[in-house]
Amino acid sequence: MSATILAVAGVSKQFDGFAALTDVDLAVCKGERVGLIGPNGSGKSTLVNCFTGIVRPDSGSITFDGADITRTPAWLRAQRGLVRTYQIPRPFPSMTLQENIEVPLRFAAGHTLASMISDEAQVILDQVGLIDKAGLSPKGLTQVELRKLELGRAVAARPKMLIADEAMAGLADSEVDEILALLLRLNGQGISIILIEHIMRAVLMFAQRIVVLVAGCKIADGLSDDVMRQDEVERAYLGE
């Protein structure tokens, strides 16, 4: 197996006495595709928030690409290549799609030349299938287009690892396939991906490895088929 890119050791987080995460360990290798699943409220989003610096864990450490980033601010993590999308898309409404993509190109990927930024934004918009709407505002976009914009913006940050937080929730089957194809293409370029998803079909198609979180604890971690066969997982996640 190749080198580890993200290593999480003993991460715990409490909100007002409620244990959202308890002593979670996780390691993701370079180029790996990991599915993170668990029932609602199991701590998936909190874990991602800890990875990306939105939330500080109470204890434990997070190492990314060889450096301890436990106390690193969110924007710096993005610059170093740890990038996420949000479950509910968060576009910049006052900007065009092109400008939306240009923000991470400029700030996270560190490009400085306006001409280069503009060219690269075009390439990324093409990649996510939004090139026809480059000059429009995100206000008129459909749900699936907003998800694509969210992914495009993540790609523009030139990530080493991409965390897709329920990028497909609420989409039709064909749209799910579109997003999956896009994620697989990105993975083909060497980007490690953590996919958080409720749509099991998508997770099973996409992930090489599945991690299961229940009530803030990791209860399973392994190859997709093996994990899904475990009784514990079945009970907790898929119901009795």
Partner: protein, 324 residues
């Protein structure tokens, strides 16, 4: 390979145009000299002062979306720095302005550092409190006149200027031009792009690698410094200053109202807003009464916020789009 994009060139041309307009206005004002009634200079000074204040407020309030209620505090600090320096060693006004900019800028940085980590209203409340605390301090500081106020003697003026009012209005044109140039530069640079991302969605901006705290601090410092500079020459304009004048509520209200009426998204919105609202206020002060001022601000704000929430900038943009 570096090639300037057409957009970059257009930006540069715009900056040069702003600088040129300012220079022409300065020259014209010098040439007019005493050929017009001094009242017009005094009225123009007030309007220009609000061009500076509105523009300064907009750098943080319009670009980043952080509403500063304490413009009067920053303005008054500039004002009182000038008074202190004048009392200590009759410093030239130019030096006062530099000192005022430095002090008010540091104040912006400090307030920002303490409160800009928190989102939304906390910064606004802190700026409001800052102005009140400062006013209390000044009111109890007898060296600068305390609550009674203080007289400032205008120095002799010579050279190309016919009167002190003539000098002040020329100075204010220069300062307003500088302020607009600063706002334009911030807006078109990476700072402005980052601030717009913060205003639109701060969490998403961070995820895109935007160092939000750092950018907000740059904006707060720049904004505060410009407000302080606008205050530095005020004692020489009114020649008598008391805390009630320097910390006047109208200063804070106007500095928010003018960008809102003009439009907050661009550098020229606050300029247009200040000219419209400032001119109408000056006219009303002469024709009806000075008490009608704030009433008018209220009415205009209500009209604009309901009928044209994006201000004059929004109206112009919509009509442009309509023509296409």
């Amino acid at each position: 390979m570096w090639r300037p994009t057409p957009i970059a060139l257009a930006h540069l041309r715009l900056g040069i145009t702003i600088a040129l307009c300012g220079t022409i206005l300065v020259v014209v004002t010098i040439l007019i000299g005493s050929r017009v009634n001094e009242y017009y200079y005094l009225a123009a000074y007030t309007i220009l002062q609000y061009v500076v204040l509105g523009t300064a407020w907009n750098i943080l309030g319009g670009y980043a979306g952080y509403v500063n209620f304490g413009t009067a505090g920053f303005f008054a600090v500039g004002c009182y720095i000038s008074i202190v320096l004048n009392r200590l060693f009759q410093s030239p006004l130019f030096l006062d302005m530099v000192a005022a900019a430095a002090t008010a800028g540091l104040m912006g940085l400090g307030t920002g550092y303490l409160t800009l980590r928190l989102r939304g209203v906390f910064f606004s409340i802190a700026t409001l409190a800052l102005a009140i605390v400062l006013q209390t301090i000044i009111t109890n500081w007898s060296f600068v006149g305390g609550g009674r106020g203080v007289y400032v003697i205008r120095p002799e003026i010579s050279g190309v200027f016919d009167s002190y009012a003539h000098f002040l209005v020329t100075l204010m044109i220069g300062l307003a031009t500088c302020a607009v140039l600063v706002a334009w530069a911030v807006e078109k640079s990476w700072i402005g792009i980052g601030l717009a991302a913060i205003r639109d969605n701060e969490m998403a901006a961070e995820t895109c690698g935007v160092p939000s705290l750092r950018l907000k601090l740059i904006a707060a410092t720049t904004s505060g410094a410009l407000m302080g500079m606008a205050g530095a020459s005020f004692p020489y304009y009114v020649s008598y200053v008391d805390p009630a004048t320097a910390f006047n509520l109208a200063i804070a209200v106007n500095s928010i109202a003018m960008p809102l009426i003009g439009g907050t998204a661009t550098w020229w919105g606050p300029v247009v807003g200040a000219i419209i609202l400032g001119s109408v206020q000056q006219t009303l002060t002469v024709t009806i009464s000075s008490a009608a001022n704030l009433f008018l601000v209220g009415v205009l704000l209500v009209v604009f916020l309901t009928a044209a929430p994006r201000g004059v900038v929004g109206i112009v943009r919509a009509s442009k789009r309509g023509r296409k």
